[in-house]
């Protein structure tokens, strides 16, 4: 999380967004999500989750990530992002593929062979 996205909410009705900062914030969310999805994939593989369990684990990790982002944003989402969806779902589906790959990789190496 780099800089605050908004230049302060002067007028209450229309929030003023600084789009460059917003992009940078969204990018940092994306990076942390990607990183987390890879790490959680490896962890899930090593712990030997199979089937639905792994996806539940992924969702849990992503929820924890959202929570962490919320704390990091000091519970005022609209200071940093334009909507709640940003911290809730941004990058979740993009990370899923990486998660599956690293999950499979770690699982195979540890449990199959």
């Amino acid at each position: 999380m780099a800089a605050a996205a908004t230049g302060g909410g002067i007028s209450a009705d229309v929030p003023i967004l600084h789009s460059e900062n917003l992009t940078s914030n969204v990018k940092s969310i994306y990076y942390s999500r990607t990183f987390l999805s890879i790490i959680s994939g490896v962890v899930a593989g090593i712990w030997g989750f199979t089937g639905l369990m792994g996806f539940v684990f992924y969702l849990l990790v992503m929820m924890v990530a959202s929570l962490g982002l919320l704390v990091k944003a000091k519970f005022s989402i609209h200071t940093y992002f334009d909507s709640w969806n940003r911290i809730l779902i941004e990058g979740v589906f993009g990370g899923l593929m990486s998660f599956v790959l690293f999950w499979t990789f770690a699982y195979d190496i540890v449990h199959i062979f």
Partner: protein, 251 residues
């Protein structure tokens, strides 16, 4: 269905791990090759007219994006400055537009650049695919830890023609494909944002700025500036400023 296949550990050591490592390394290599190929073409000083047009487009875009932060009158006068039919910055005379288009098509440099970009994508992929096919075709390399319907057989067991093997076993060729898609996230982490896939998107976005067809983007920008609805976001700003100033005076 229920019987488990026993996979040789040699498969892990000589197929699964090497394949993944090679995929990562090739991704990194491709990134640097693309960078090398790109830099010489960007360095010669571009046509000043092109640069000028690109900058005009960027200015117009800035106006369009931040339109709600200036009063209606200010916006209108700026809009006229950009879009009026006589000497607006974004206005391109018809015959000139046609000429520019013709010039674009006859310009071999542009096509060359596109070719280069495409080649740097396609060649490594074909080579890797051929390599994987040659060395590792036709056996099970991995098992995905979740069950799938038989529909996925074609996708995951590419290269094995056995219908009795459980679908969650992945052939080596399909493991290559899995890597191809799944490693994108890893690349964006290790190579930074300027990775090959992002690059294409970025080119697309700022196509108006440099390269692409500047006259075309001028016209497009003019259209979007024409249809924009102006909606001032700060009607209370003066009031607010007055308050602040009064507060300051009182002190």
């Amino acid at each position: 269905m229920a019987e488990e296949l026993v996979l040789d550990t040699a498969i892990r050591d000589w197929v699964l791990v090497p394949l993944s490592v090679v995929m990562v390394l090739i991704g990194v290599l491709r990134y640097f090759v693309a960078k090398l190929m790109r830099s010489p073409s960007a360095s010669p000083s571009p046509d000043p007219k092109l640069v000028k047009e690109g900058q005009v487009v960027i200015r117009a875009r800035n106006l369009r994006m931040n339109a709600q932060y200036i009063p209606a009158k200010a916006f209108k006068s700026r809009k006229v400055y950009y879009t009026n039919e006589e000497n607006g910055l974004l206005h391109v005379p018809k015959e000139e537009a046609q000429k520019a288009q013709a010039a674009m098509f006859s310009d071999p440099n542009m096509a060359m650049d596109m070719m280069k970009k495409n080649l740097s994508m396609i060649v490594p992929q074909t080579l890797t695919f051929a390599w994987v096919n040659f060395f590792f075709s036709g056996f099970v390399a991995a098992k995905i830890p979740f069950p799938l319907t038989p529909r996925f057989r074609g996708m995951l067991q590419n290269g094995i023609d056995l219908s009795t093997v459980d679908v969650s076993y992945v052939s080596s060729r399909s493991w290559y494909f899995l890597n191809l898609f799944g490693l994108r996230g890893l690349f964006s982490l290790i190579l930074g944002e300027e990775n090959a896939t992002d690059d294409a998107q970025k080119m697309m976005q700022m196509g108006g700025g440099f390269g692409g067809n500047p006259t075309m983007s001028l016209a497009a920008e003019k259209d979007s500036l024409d249809i924009i609805q102006h909606d001032w976001a700060l009607p209370k700003m003066e009031h607010h400023a007055e308050e602040v100033l009064r507060k300051l005076l009182k002190k």
